[in-house]
Point group: C2
């Protein structure tokens, strides 16, 4: 790429950056919690349509999705739950095509009193844009659009199709990106600007979500010393799962890209519900667990070990008989590795160096990413690469504004370089 083109593209990002932040903030103000992504998708649809893209919007179809090995069982109805894709088509297709993907769904905000301000307000304070979803990943979704705008504002037209995808369900099943793939969207590379601290994801874990219902026989508290308490029993069951977690972590030496992480496999005890009445010894307790697995281990293989561990639990710590029954309630996903040496990565590395003045670093992350959909099932090199954030899934989530600016420039240069350009 000519240095002149690169400079004009970067200048165009700067010129539109206030508008980019404004749209990001507007998007954060839509609380696009699971199944409530509609108004945020409306906004993105309008933004894409305004750019002249060919628009596509469709409802997820659980029955159809469930035929795919990468499907995560959904516990919600997909009625009204839609993906939005806008496609840019060049006059002449001479370059390499691209998917710019991002998810619009956000995780629950948790107790609002723990936030310094409303999670759905989106002020910039001391160089950080705040709000639930600001980092994870509305900044990235909007960066995809403004990176494209900058290429065009620099007087260039990408020479290959680009699909802008705003998907749902990334935080719970991965069914949004899976649905886009099953609808036929493919390309020569995928970029997903998740908040990855200005780095490229080399490998990540898969994730399985499941609910364990622990049950036994309860009694009146006056006889409780002889009785079974499902909440205590759930704690015991979680201990058995922790043994699996420990075993898998001990095996990290034999998993490429995971050897040097202290604790790559995290089992999160995410939610708990148990008991009906303070003066009745609880008869049941349900825990929702998020388990991680290494790339190369299929969800079926991991599930077999997890359920095996649960089946081995036949009594609580005091010897009362219990049952611990697991149900899959979300992610059922393998991890993936971005193999080194792809042309896509080389192009991104050049773009990154030009903007950041330093080498593109890659790393392994122990969290779920939709990158697995495109890598494992589309065989497409997928670059998960995005800005610096704090407290995603926590309180006062925020994304660093200058990092967003640089990432946008880097993606813009990537678009121009990867897709090739013609004078507009």
């Amino acid at each position: 790429m000519h240095a002149d083109d690169a400079r004009r593209i970067c200048d165009a990002v700067d010129a539109a950056f206030d508008a980019q932040l404004e749209l990001t903030a507007e998007l954060v103000r839509h609380p696009s919690l699971r199944t409530r992504e509609g108004s945020a998708q409306d906004l993105l649809y309008a933004e894409m349509e305004r750019r002249g893209f060919a628009m596509d919007r469709w409802e997820l179809d659980a029955a159809q999705l469930s035929e795919h090995v990468g499907y995560g069982p959904s516990t919600v109805s997909y009625e009204g739950v839609t993906n939005v894709v806008g496609t840019y088509r060049p006059t002449e297709h001479t370059g390499r095509s691209l998917i710019l993907n991002g998810h619009v769904d956000v995780v629950p905000e948790g107790p609002e009193e723990a936030w310094s301000r409303s999670p759905w307000d989106a002020p910039v304070i001391d160089g950080w844009l705040h709000g639930r979803g600001s980092g994870d990943m509305k900044a990235g979704l909007v960066a995809n659009l403004f990176a494209f705008d900058a290429v065009r504002a620099a007087g260039l037209s990408p020479a290959a199709p680009i699909h802008f995808q705003s998907v749902v369900e990334e935080e719970c099943t991965g069914n949004g990106s899976l649905s886009a793939l099953m609808r036929g969207y493919t390309a020569d590379a995928v970029v997903i600007p998740e908040p990855e601290e200005d780095m490229l994801v080399r490998a990540n874990t898969g994730v399985i979500w499941f609910t364990v219902r622990v049950a036994g026989v309860p009694t009146h508290p006056r006889e409780m010393s002889s009785g079974f308490n499902a909440i205590d029993a759930a704690h015991h069951v979680m201990g058995e799962l922790r043994r699996v977690e420990e075993r898998w972590n001990a095996e990290r030496g034999s998993h490429r890209h995971f050897e040097d992480l202290d604790h790559p496999i995290n089992f999160n005890l995410g939610t708990i519900r148990g008991g009906d009445w303070p003066s009745s010894v609880p008869a049941w307790c349900e825990i929702e667990v998020r388990a991680a697995l290494y790339p190369g281990v299929t969800a079926d293989q991991a599930w077999e070990e997890l359920t095996g561990a649960l089946e081995s639990v036949t009594s609580d710590a005091q010897g009362h008989p219990i049952s611990a029954v697991a149900t899959r309630t979300g992610f059922y996903a393998e991890g993936y590795v971005l193999e080194e040496g792809s042309e896509a990565e080389a192009v991104l590395a050049r773009s990154h160096e030009r903007v950041f003045g330093s080498e593109l670093r890659s790393f392994t992350t122990p969290g779920y990413l939709d990158g697995r959909v495109f890598t494992l099932y589309g065989d497409i090199p997928t670059l998960v690469y995005g800005p610096v954030s704090e407290a995603i899934h926590g309180f006062d989530e925020r994304v660093e504004v200058e990092s967003v600016r640089r990432i946008t420039k880097s993606i813009a240069l990537f678009i121009a370089d990867w897709c090739g350009t013609a004078q507009a």
Copy 2:
């Protein structure tokens, strides 16, 4: 009492016993869960009215109740939540007056699939009447009425007023009996046929209900090893409460009537709720705890120790700062002792021996009883005495039919002996 009168009374219990069981079963079929006691109270109102009692029915008044030291903070509205009292008045009041009390509210049934049959069906199987509330304490409520009927069927009229009370809120606050006392109902003795295994309660514990909300700062599971998990923290907080429980149990030697119990003080972790999302480290967890206290220890004294223990928790097991805030959400009740040597107890002992052919045994129970309302605040000798049951607060709750028959006879003889009789 003449042996003839006693025999006629007992025969009358036998004669009406099928009808008594039928009414008990009908009452069990009304799922009189908290705030949903209305239809069961309608039934009891009609039964009392039919017997010619002067009827009184009123809604509980939380504001008024809250001025009493024995009030348990209510977490529900009392709109439409009523006590029913029917009063028998003799032509001439020459004997000792009586309150026959029972509660109509039942605890939640829990997961219905754990029951052998519907909790709201009420079959007699192998000598046991089944169903939620059968033992605790609809058998007792109905026994009060049929005991009275038997005295009259024997051709006798009790010679003192008798107040038949069907109260609410016994399973959560004790505000039902408290409201009856505050309305002015008093008597020379109280009988409450709770399921006490054909025995008399000599002493019982007080109970406090409270919710502890544990909160901290959560993170994404990818950073969970450095983070705080509110569910684990709640377990840690419960551990601190267990230390108080242990200390109080160690002190049992200095509490009369509790010296010989293995574990009189039970803290029940009754319900738990925590976390919002499987892939977010939980930021909050709430536990509902039922703690017990010895008679002679005021609720305020116990509460000070409990909250002191919670205030001492400033970090979780890993040293992360946490807060554990307790709120009173139900019972705030002292225990009581039925002092030996009362005339009421002597009369009941005679009645019991006549029916059972064995001495009346008394015992100490580590559970809440409305007896504390009448004993502590009404200064009335209160006899908590009732049939054999199984699995109250559990699955397949049931009450022994022949025990109900004998207890009814015993209460009937007590009525005649305590109140005195005239020929009808």
